[in-house]
Subunit: 411 residues, 2 copies
């Protein structure tokens, strides 16, 4: 499987595109003055309903838009428009919140003259306050989706909260000799953890694939990418990743029996991994992206679990911020990840510098490692020598700015 | 059970005592210059071997002293001396670390002319560096345990690392008409989480109780107290709580059939809860003690789990630091604690101020809540209205100083 993926990945080409690069998608974003300056309302629009798939937060407290979007996708597996507002999460807003989410859906339906059940809605921002409907509803009429990179950039800006930059990725691959494009846009900064934490992701592709097959790809890929990032371990009420496939490219419908199925999976994986890393890098207050690679675990899932435990440890995160090669905190996190390991066969390297081999400390040049830790991308390698499982996770350092941002977010 | 405890608790009297207040215990602490200024080596000593019980870290990576102490207690359930060094954890030090721990045990045996298998050892401090044996071994000869509060205070100082104050508690109760004393001393600041995270606790009592019964009490009480504190969610390699019972008070041996059994359990619980709160209050960089009380959960264990998830959330911790009544982050933590709840029946109060009732936001005076949040002890009340389970957990706010302390600990 690892080999198959490697071969397939060679045929995936990153291109300078956006969610409107795949054929069949338009988008826009505008400023309705819910937020002070930045865009706060956006739409992705297709000329007809297209195959849709989604994954949602596993938090038991789920925002109203999650319920409305789930319902829309369940109707017939198709979506024609996605409307997103930022500033308010429409979570913990009771029955009024649900009414508001439906009203947004209705308004989009009337404005674009499409069916309400083909409309997904998403919200992000403060929990527990009602959305400013008096700004959002008139705002919807002003949305003018276009199939340009500029429309996509307006959308990318409209979904941000504490993010400091927009996040997007686009790749192309060949299916049945035709160019297929997969693109994505995401937001997410704090409260990022497993299971979709205050992160929103929207993926578009012009591939020909059913709702069901797209759902299988998305669910799989999410486990390896979006669910492997952590900023502060909190899991939000609003998160979702939504994928839309327009089928505008003329190739045989994709499913597991298609010879180039893995090609498409790899393209989805590449976009998702790129977005995940961008989100981790933009963690609240972060100065460094941390990637943890675990191998030799009992299973791939175990490797991912340990990688995530390490990258989620406040002590590891502060050590990396302090450019401190403190492998003791790394081994400590390995020990409480809930995976059975052999405490005597652990290797830990920071970048290319071995710090622990066979669970015994190794002499290393503090100076060289310090120089490495001053960089903006830190990789931690762990080998457990227990099995064949491999997995990665991404996060960021824990800084003074994280505390500053989160001690004052609501006020 | 709750009522039984309440009744019993009324007979537990907090007294101004130390671990040498229970009859039969002496202690000392000295400065061997492993640490720059503070004491770094301490001992608790009994005139003969006494009943002992212990709980240990659940981290799979366990420091050498854990192995040596486990072995000592397993021999015959008795301990005569406990020696503790701070500065180095003797964790991840390979075979050399185990040899060193045994050498410390041997040296104590020779110095005090007692059996090595009656000696417990504990270490706390930096992981991965060998202990400075050239300072510790000669230091052991200089220990002069005495049965005074001053001896206890020297010990309390000797076990600290990043702690800013010593932690102790002492209570008395009546068993068979005789005064029984239970006392404890602890250290712990960062890396405090479930399962004994870089925390050391030592409890002494002059009660008459077997090794086995003492172990049952300690394990139970630990679940409700030491395992309910979290500073940063990390679980350390070295943690243990050790209880010693000298049987110097003349009463019928305690076990579940003794009519005043709950009296003794409550005394152990009171000392453990007091130490736990002191540890949480002294969390690295903390300015506030946070107590979370959950009721209406399916079970007591579920309530404890949710309480701990809330008090462990970086977002809740930074909000409290920022005196922000952000109940959205609290409900969010409830939703991902892994306990089945009803999302529509949640009450949340901050201090005595209701912020959410039946999962709907409640108007509250921001000013009054702000004034409350400026205090040094914050209580969060959650009622789930699902079952009868109740539980508490303790933690602290997440501050700039936490980042400062942990970004520079090793250097």
């Amino acid at each position: 499987m690892a080999n198959a993926q490697t071969v397939a990945m060679q045929a995936i080409e990153a291109v300078n595109g956006t969610i409107t690069t795949p054929k069949g998608f338009k988008s826009d974003g505008i400023h309705t003055k819910v937020k002070r300056k930045r865009n706060d309302l956006g739409v992705i629009y297709c000329d007809q309903p297209v195959a849709a798939a989604a994954v949602y937060t596993l938090n038991q407290i789920q925002a109203a838009p999650i319920a409305v979007t789930k319902e829309a996708i369940q109707t017939n597996g198709k979506i024609q428009a996605v409307v997103v507002n930022s500033g308010h999460a429409n979570a913990c807003t009771g029955k009024q919140g649900l009414t508001d989410a439906y009203e947004v859906q209705e308004k989009v339906a009337k404005t674009f003259v499409i069916q309400p059940e083909d409309i997904a809605v998403a919200s992000t921002g403060l929990i527990g306050e009602r959305m400013k409907m008096e700004k959002i509803i008139p705002g919807i009429e002003k949305l003018e989706p276009v199939a340009t990179n500029q429309g996509a950039e307006q959308f990318a800006q409209a979904i941000l909260t504490t993010d400091t930059f927009t996040k997007s990725a686009c790749v192309q691959t060949m299916i049945d000799g035709e160019v297929v494009t997969v693109a994505g846009v995401a937001k997410g900064s704090g409260m990022i953890h497993p299971n979709m934490a205050t992160m929103l992701g929207f993926m578009t592709t012009d591939a020909n694939i059913s709702h069901e097959a797209l759902q299988r790809v998305l669910s799989n890929v999410t486990d390896q990418t979006y669910n492997r990032i952590t900023v502060d371990g909190d899991t939000s009420t609003n998160d979702m990743v939504l994928a839309l496939a327009s089928a505008e490219v003329d190739h045989a419908e994709l499913s597991e029996t298609h010879p180039e199925w893995l090609q498409f999976v790899s393209a989805m994986q590449a976009v998702s991994e790129s977005l995940s890393k961008q989100i981790a890098r933009d963690g609240e207050g972060a100065t460094k992206l941390i990637e943890v690679q675990v191998s030799g675990a009992p299973t791939d899932a175990d490797a991912g679990k340990i990688a995530k435990q390490i990258v989620g440890s406040d002590l590891v995160k502060t050590a990396i911020y302090g450019t401190d090669a403190n492998w003791g905190r790394i081994i400590c996190a390995i020990g409480y990840a809930g995976v059975t390991i052999d405490p005597d066969t652990i290797d830990i390297a920071i970048g290319s510098y071995d710090t622990l081999l066979n669970s015994e400390p190794v002499m290393f040049s503090e100076e060289e490692v310090l120089a490495y830790l001053k960089g903006e991308e830190i990789t931690i390698h762990v080998h457990l020598h227990v099995g064949e499982g491999v997995g990665k996770a991404w996060g960021c350092d824990l800084t003074y700015d994280y505390v500053r941002i989160n001690a004052g977010y609501r006020t």
